[in-house]
Chain length 397, copies 2
């Protein structure tokens, strides 16, 4: 059989990072390429206890079909939490539960984009989301990420140049992979531009609760008075990714269509996972847990930056200081072959992600690579970053 | 904001059944409209024990990211099981885990159908799957279901009339909603026709393990030597639906694209659910559990058919005798207004699903309605079916 694939998926290739992760799982390899939370970050004891009680007292609730919008008590808990913490649930908004935030990207793309419509994203951006958008055969256009977020002048130029733009995808907090946080001024500007050009925004905020330095910046959704922002949140980085629970907030009219798409994909999100999240948020010290996570990641981030300052920066590599999240973006001096450099690291058994994986087209030249500090142990970080420094010394002459 | 929805989802409406279920959940209403497994069918004690052990011994395996193809031990368990039981894993086939069988329909439609390609299904067919196909803006063409499955002459006529047909969707065992099982002869004929016209088949088999009378009929996938059959299986009816675990078997080349689509939708299926299924299949008496389920449903199905024979058939309503599955398809005498009849039932607090919900276009005239016997208690069944008989006596003159 010769398969005739749909136009949508014809050019689709496996996610480069998840492929790298497969090779990074060899024993003896120090992987700075993952995006996994630290195993110490999981509230194992609480989940153990919650799960036991749920299956004891409400097994049918855990095992029977649920509704596509999500488990109502969890939706209510999240609405209250988001209103208090981020001021983002307005009168006309609805919140539903999804099977991880990845599903928000899929559903939003499906609901609002025809093939060859344009979606504007940050350059670089999260490759998982980009691949989801690609799977609907939409045209991706990147806008340069500066130290304080997207270049707004370039954004407006692209909005003019691509009049069939329907969505802008942004990760405003501790962006994956750049680590950059968008300034409040730019958030307002982005919102204005989207409104002016009649474009929707997906505000993807998986790392928002992981700020360990500096001041919180209001969400774009918090000043959305026109229902143009689709907000995406996730339990993957603050509870656990294996449970696959995220949520989205959007205007009710837009949400009605998106719920039908969600229903068509998986009927509803796993009940056990939803009930675990609700119990954890309501009967345990959820805010205390977030404090612990921030302390854990602050320590690891600072260790990582100190190691970079000591071993890597002297070689000519630069990086963006971060205030939260899980990733650091390192840039080689001009003229150094980034892919060859990453390959040389792999030969020394250190895995990082080549920066071109995060661009709208991986053939675009790129001098940067991403490192993650949440998955490796402190010892692995120390060894790995020393090796990056040693390879860089040889490589950068 | 006026939303510009994509062409794909523009005409999309909520799943009629899931909307009916919402109203059927009023207290005092006897719902024969659901498709939920009986609460007694869930292996609660086993899941309780498995979950406790998993979170005790392998919490990180439950909570950390997994791979998109699914949990490898569960994939291996299923491969062995399906090879032994159904003879369906060939050299060139691959098996992956999905978040319920609904995801198979979504991924297959996305991978193989452009907008306005044709998909042929049984008429009537499972509305959840039809809605998923609709969400990709494909044209649905129905083929009449006879007592032994699709009308093969009509199928060939439709294949000729719609040369852009890419997929045939079938539920060969105890079809939802008709309860019909396709004969072996027709399975072979369907396979030949698909091959002749270069069309793929989705064989959806959620009820296959629930045969309580008669002899098993081989799966279409078991004689697929050309990689044209995508087989879909599910734990929803044999373990529990709330855990959202299904699986699909397809040729490796086709599967490679579908895995990328799966990755884009939800990264991977909830780990807890996958690990629970694997433990239950390997460390418990899985076949004994299936025996118990069959005994449970056999009793309920026979009770239901006996009640129909006693109270409903004498009024002129006919129904298809079933050998497995969860649904019975009842047909009113010609000339009776089926929708008005279902409404009259609702007024007497009995909910069934109007048959037109299962057609490619709900405006097509339909004399039938679906009843489910797995969700109601025996008492509810008795009361509900008596009421159907009483209303029918008044209605059919």
């Amino acid at each position: 059989m010769t398969y005739n694939f749909s136009d949508k998926v014809l050019a689709l290739k496996p996610n480069a990072i998840r492929e790298i992760l497969k090779s990074a799982s060899d024993p003896g390899v120090i992987s700075l390429s993952a995006g996994n939370p630290a195993p110490d970050a999981f509230p194992v004891d609480a989940i153990k206890e919650i799960s036991k009680n749920l299956l004891e007292n409400n097994p049918i609730g855990v095992l029977q079909y649920g509704i596509s919008d999500g488990y109502t008590p969890l939706r209510d808990t999240l609405k209250t939490y988001l209103k208090e913490e981020l001021d983002i649930i307005k009168e006309d908004d609805e919140l539903i539960i999804v099977s991880g935030a990845q599903q928000v990207m899929d559903i939003a793309a499906k609901t609002f984009l025809n093939e060859h419509d344009t979606l504007i994203c940050e350059a670089p951006s999260f490759v998982g989301a980009l691949n989801t958008f690609r799977s609907y055969n939409v045209d991706l256009v990147g806008v340069t990420v500066e130290k304080d977020g997207m270049d707004m002048q370039e954004l407006e130029e692209k909005l003019k140049a691509y009049p069939n733009t329907k969505l802008i995808y942004t990760i405003p907090n501790f962006q994956n992979p750049s680590g950059v946080t968008m300034s409040l001024q730019k958030r307002h500007k982005l919102y204005e531009l989207a409104k002016k050009y009649g474009v929707l925004i997906i505000e993807d905020n998986p790392y928002g609760d992981l700020r360990y330095n500096g001041e919180n910046v209001p969400c774009i959704k918090s000043f959305d008075d026109s229902g143009i922002v689709i907000y995406s949140g996730s339990f993957s980085k603050v509870v656990a990714p294996g449970i696959r629970v995220g949520f989205m907030v959007a205007n009710k009219e837009a949400m009605a269509k998106m719920i039908v798409c969600k229903q068509g994909q998986d009927v509803h999100t796993t009940m056990w996972s939803q009930l675990v999240c609700n119990e954890f948020m309501t009967k345990y010290d959820y805010k205390g847990h977030l404090e612990k996570l921030r302390a854990l990641y602050k320590e690891k981030a600072e260790l990582c930056m100190n190691l970079l300052d000591e071993y890597v920066v002297p070689t000519g590599i630069t990086y963006n200081k971060i205030e939260g999240g899980l990733f650091i973006w390192c840039t080689l001096p001009k003229g150094v072959d980034m892919l060859a450099f990453c390959k040389a690291l792999t030969e020394k058994k250190v895995c990082v992600v080549p920066g071109n994986a995060f661009l709208t087209d991986s053939a675009i030249p790129c001098d940067s690579f991403r490192i993650n500090f949440s998955t490796p142990t402190d010892d692995e970080l120390k060894k790995g970053i020393k090796i990056i420094g040693e390879v860089a010394k040889d490589f950068i002459k």
